[in-house]
């Protein structure tokens, strides 16, 4: 590989803070690749992050998330705000490749210096985002974007990770989803701060709106915070601009929710939850890395697998044993593991 990407984390972060788009792009790639430099980069990014408004859009593929975001970008740009967008699409479980198609809908902003858009494949991570999405949002915050918008991959499953990243979470539904809405409403309706019925121009929209109203009342009653999630109908794509609908209302509702968060101080809890989630992820990764590093070259992993296979023990007992040795005398294990060598 001839590519020279040898900038130090310090240089990369310094450049991206100064508005260098290429440096930002390369830093984001490092995050996606879970590279060795990540911890160092994030340590430098973190103090500059956390000052943006973060909005999430979730909902099935094709429901109109990207089309809605396109309008949101325009409105926030009209207000003079800088906008970052992170759009996640599913990676193929077979090839590991991904078709990232959201950018087509953001064409109108392709030359706007105040807009930074990044597409990412989920790379096997579940929950509607990629493992590194929360880090990428932090980077976009540090870049000085006033608003960061996150689009989930839209498999229509319980893509609930978005609530740990976004302050205001918008669920996008459509009239032609039929039974999907029924399947979805259980978990995901409760987490949505705003529910949008997009494609309100389609047949059956009114009927759908009525049945949604009933469902939402139940979902809201399950919420502990007292926010009443509004239901808005929109048309995000139409041949004529005058046929677009509900975009201003969506903007206003997002603002209302943000005001509610700040006035009730609920924003502090939202931020704390996000940090808790980040901490959990980093802990999990680091502990796992630490332990696998310690086991490397000792032949222990194979011994454990063999023992479990032969019924002498089980995964739970093994992990308990490994954890108790490693976490108590971690440094010592690291020392000795280098000397043994067999595979």
């Amino acid at each position: 590989m001839a590519k020279t990407r040898s900038d130090s984390p310090e240089e990369m972060v310094q450049k991206l803070l100064a508005g260098d788009r290429r440096a930002a792009a390369r830093t984001i790639t490092l995050m996606e690749n879970q590279s060795e430099k990540n911890n160092q980069v994030m340590k430098l990014v973190y103090p500059h992050a956390g000052k943006s408004m973060v909005i999430g859009l979730t909902g099935s593929g094709g429901s109109g998330k990207s089309s809605l975001i396109n309008h949101l970008i325009r409105r926030y740009r009209d207000q003079g705000k800088r906008v970052g967008v992170v759009a996640v699409d599913p990676s193929s479980p077979f090839s590991g490749g991904a078709l990232l198609g959201d950018r087509i809908r953001f064409q109108a902003h392709s030359m706007d210096d105040g807009v930074y858009i990044r597409s990412m494949g989920s790379r096997g991570y579940l929950g509607g985002l990629a493992r590194s999405t929360s880090d990428v949002v932090r980077i976009m915050e540090a870049m000085g974007n006033d608003v960061v918008i996150v689009e989930t991959l839209g498999a229509g499953q319980d893509e609930v990770d978005i609530i740990h990243v976004a302050q205001t979470c918008v669920l996008v539904l459509t009239p032609n989803m039929g039974d999907d809405i029924q399947a979805m409403k259980a978990g995901i309706m409760e987490i949505a701060d705003i529910i949008v019925l997009n494609k309100a121009d389609l047949d059956g929209a009114i009927l759908c709106l009525r049945s949604l109203e009933a469902t939402i009342q139940f979902a809201i009653s399950q919420r502990e915070d007292g926010w009443v999630s509004p239901l808005i109908s929109t048309v995000a794509s139409a041949a004529k601009t005058e046929d677009l609908q509900g975009i201003n209302e969506l903007m206003k509702t997002i603002r209302d929710h943000q005001e509610y968060l700040h006035e009730s101080r609920a924003i502090d809890e939202v931020q704390a939850k996000r940090i808790e989630q980040e901490l959990g992820l980093v802990f999990k990764d680091e502990v796992q890395k630490f332990i696998f590093k310690g086991l490397k070259g000792t032949g222990k992993k194979r011994q454990y697998i063999k023992a479990i296979f032969e019924g002498r023990t089980d995964p739970y007992s093994v992990v308990e044993e490994v954890l108790s040795t490693f976490l108590k005398v971690g440094a010592k294990v690291n020392e000795t593991s280098g000397s043994k060598k067999h595979i």
Binding site: M1, A2, K3, T4, R21, R22, A24, A25, R26, I28, T29, N33, Q34, S91, S92, S95, G96, G97, A98, L99, L100, G101, R103, I104, Q107, S110, M111, Y116, I117, R118, S119, M120, G121, R123, G124, R131
Partner: protein
């Protein structure tokens, strides 16, 4: 499947409305394990370059079927130079006379795939060369 994927921008510039080939190639590269940002039709050279920068692309792939390849390719090459994308691979595909292939290569295109190109040759070429430039 966490690590290092080849990232490719697939796009069309100008007013050419033939997008089938571009879609076929985008899907093909995805199936070969790459991350493909599909920009679709009617792009400007500047817009393609901006996407390549923000997405940290390794490869820019352009598709032409309406005879605009000699008009837009120099613009793309020029924009790439201006933005310092000298390590990004530039490949072109589509429908054009064979004598235009060396012309485009002279302009700075790394490889050209005319209509009927075997899909394997496209995948193999990109896999081999995506990280070798610059």
């Amino acid at each position: 499947m966490n690590r290092d994927k080849i990232k490719v921008i697939v796009s069309k510039v100008g007013l050419d409305g033939h997008d089938r080939g571009a879609k076929v190639v985008a899907t093909l590269l995805k199936e070969a394990g790459m991350e493909v940002v599909y920009l679709g039709m009617y792009q400007t050279p500047e817009g393609v370059i901006r996407a390549a920068i923000d997405e940290d692309a390794d490869v820019i792939g352009l598709s032409y079927l309406s005879g605009e390849h000699l008009v837009y390719t120099p613009k793309i090459v020029n924009e790439m130079k201006k933005s310092g994308l000298n390590d990004v691979l530039l490949v072109v595909g589509g429908s054009f006379p064979p004598e235009d292939v060396p012309v485009m290569k002279e302009m700075g295109v790394d490889e050209v795939f005319r209509g009927g190109s075997l899909t394997k040759s496209i995948v193999d070429y990109i896999k081999k060369n995506a990280r070798e430039k610059g």
